[in-house]
């Protein structure tokens, strides 16, 4: 489906006692069903804010967010949110952690239970089902977090730098792992990251944001859908070039900003 998720000139301003901060400015883009979209931008540019808008925790100051052509008001749409750390509850077993969402939404039907138990088995978490999170490795914990996100059968996955808390080696492997599972489950994904190579290795479409107030600088298409895994994508010919392009775009802003403040300082 086209325009599964659509943002229409969305702006968001934060207010505090002493100032107002413009976080997002006139952001418009769409995500089609089954598409993997990455958003990259300098740190602190409001990427996470963008995800909060999509899952309805924040309401835009201006503009609208549509999901399935319906405007998002409040946390109503069926999203699955995955954060930087796994945030598994230490006092629950892995299985109980995974069932958390269904438990809250009171959807513990026999069908759902079976579906989720299948997910647990399919993705190799069965032997850890009765373990507590502190007995699992970082990679396994992140996988459990992903299965927890998938358990409620969300229409769209929102990944907020889901690998940034992992060390480099684990990170590449977990990235492969997560990608494989998401593709198998045919989910639509919106990924937020500051890691350009991660974005290219996973996404179909990359949205480059500028510094705060974030606006869309450019949209890239990776055309790497035929390559099976993020690790293999890193080895393709176009990878380095695309990395260079996006890196330049991000850097442009830094230098321009630098010149601006320099000019300001002089005058």
């Amino acid at each position: 489906m086209q325009n599964f998720l659509r943002l229409d000139t969305v702006s968001l301003t934060y207010y505090s006692k002493t100032m107002e901060t413009e976080a997002l400015k006139d952001i418009s883009f769409q995500v089609n069903e089954g598409e993997f979209v990455a958003i990259v931008g300098p740190s602190g540019c409001g990427k996470t804010t963008l995800l909060s808008l999509v899952c309805g925790i924040l309401t835009p100051t201006k503009g609208k967010v549509y999901f399935n052509n319906q405007e998002i008001t409040g946390v109503s749409s069926n999203v699955g949110y995955m954060l930087q750390r796994d945030y598994l509850f230490e006092w629950r077993t892995i299985q109980k952690n995974i069932f958390l969402g269904l438990e809250i939404q009171k959807k513990l039907t026999p069908q759902n239970t079976e579906r989720v138990n299948n997910l647990i088995e399919k993705y190799g978490l069965k032997e850890f089902a009765k373990s507590y999170p502190n007995q699992l490795s970082g990679g396994m914990r992140q996988r459990a977090a992903l299965i927890r996100t998938l358990a409620t059968d969300p229409d769209i996955l929102l990944l907020d730098e889901p690998f940034s808390a992992l060390d480099f080696q684990t990170r590449l492997n977990v990235c492969d792992d997560v990608y494989r599972i998401i593709k198998k489950e045919q989910k639509t994904v919106l990924l937020v990251t500051h890691d350009i190579s991660e974005a290219i290795s996973m996404a179909d479409k990359i949205i480059v944001l500028s510094k705060r107030p974030a606006s869309i600088k450019n949209i890239h298409y990776t055309n790497l859908g035929h390559v099976s895994s993020p690790l293999k994508r890193r080895e393709t010919n176009g990878f380095a070039q695309q990395f260079e392009e996006i890196w330049q775009e991000l850097n442009d802003y830094e230098t321009q900003e630098g010149t601006d403040s320099l000019t300001q300082a002089i005058s």
Binding site: F89, E90, W91
Partner: protein, 269 residues
């Protein structure tokens, strides 16, 4: 999920060292106690200290036997322990309940914050005369004192724990469309079980303070009553005996809470 494996010699050596270290600590703890009592006894025996005002272990032992024979030691222990346990339970429950209400409503939290601060710094003993007038001179007054001393500290500690729940975990639950009751029941309360346990540990001490203070103010029986009585008639043997008994009972209560902790926070091991 530990597999049984043959221990390597170095591992065995390590375990032996561990055990030895533990034994040393335990021996030291026990030895210190023995040393104190021994010195106390010797000094009293040779007249270095006046055992009329310091008592001595042997005199305490004799006093203890006498109290046992008269049969009312257990009555006094029973009275005080009952007051303490009731005060402890009510204080902890009320305090936790108050903390839940204040966590639930940030507005109430803000409104009552200064009151909590003042109540916390107020020495509750100062309320003694008022308590006696309102609750009478019976056990009700003593229990009220025990409750008052533990309830404010519980409220503040629990509220602090509730308010420090990881905001990202709350965000996670919100994206799952959790209501406030879910956030409390599935996250805030279970993640604060350790806080509750440390509250219980503090409250063992707090409610004993309340009980003894209450008994000093008004009582017909109890360890506090005995201590006060012993002091008034200058029977230091009685005072010291009661204090030692008090130490033992408080330690037992603390151990019970520690046992409870083990079963409550199993996942933390």
């Amino acid at each position: 999920m530990k597999h049984k494996k043959e221990l390597t010699p170095l591992h065995k050596q390590f375990l032996k060292k561990e055990r030895k270290g533990k034994l040393t600590v335990f021996g030291g703890q026990f030895g210190f106690l023995i040393l104190c009592f021994a010195l106390w006894e010797i000094f009293a025996h040779y007249g270095v200290i006046d055992s009329f005002i310091t008592s001595s272990p042997s005199r305490i032992w004799r006093q203890f036997g006498e109290l046992l024979k008269n049969g009312n030691l257990f009555l006094h222990i029973y009275v005080s322990t009952k007051e303490t346990v009731i005060g402890f339970l009510i204080g902890t429950a009320l305090g936790t309940l108050a903390a839940i209400v204040l966590w639930w409503s940030p507005l109430l939290n803000k409104i009552f914050e200064p009151y909590l601060v003042v109540l916390n710094s107020l020495p509750k003993v100062a309320l003694g005369p008022i308590i006696i007038i309102w609750a009478g001179t019976g056990q009700a007054a003593i229990i009220t004192m025990a409750v008052l001393i533990s309830v404010v500290v519980t409220t503040i500690t629990m509220l602090n724990g509730f308010n420090n729940t990881d905001p990202n975990k709350i965000l996670l639950l919100k994206t799952m469309r959790a209501k406030k009751i879910d956030i409390f029941g599935k996250l805030v309360l279970p993640s604060n079980l350790p806080t509750l346990v440390s509250c219980l540990k503090i409250n063992v001490g707090m409610s004993w303070i309340g009980t003894i203070m209450g008994e000093y103010l008004t009582s017909q029986a109890g360890l506090g009553y005995l201590i006060l009585y012993g002091g008034q008639v200058f029977k230091l043997d009685l005072v010291m005996t009661c204090i030692l008994v008090l130490c033992v009972i408080a330690a037992v209560m603390y151990l019970l809470v520690a046992l409870l902790e083990k079963s409550l926070v199993r996942w933390n091991s």
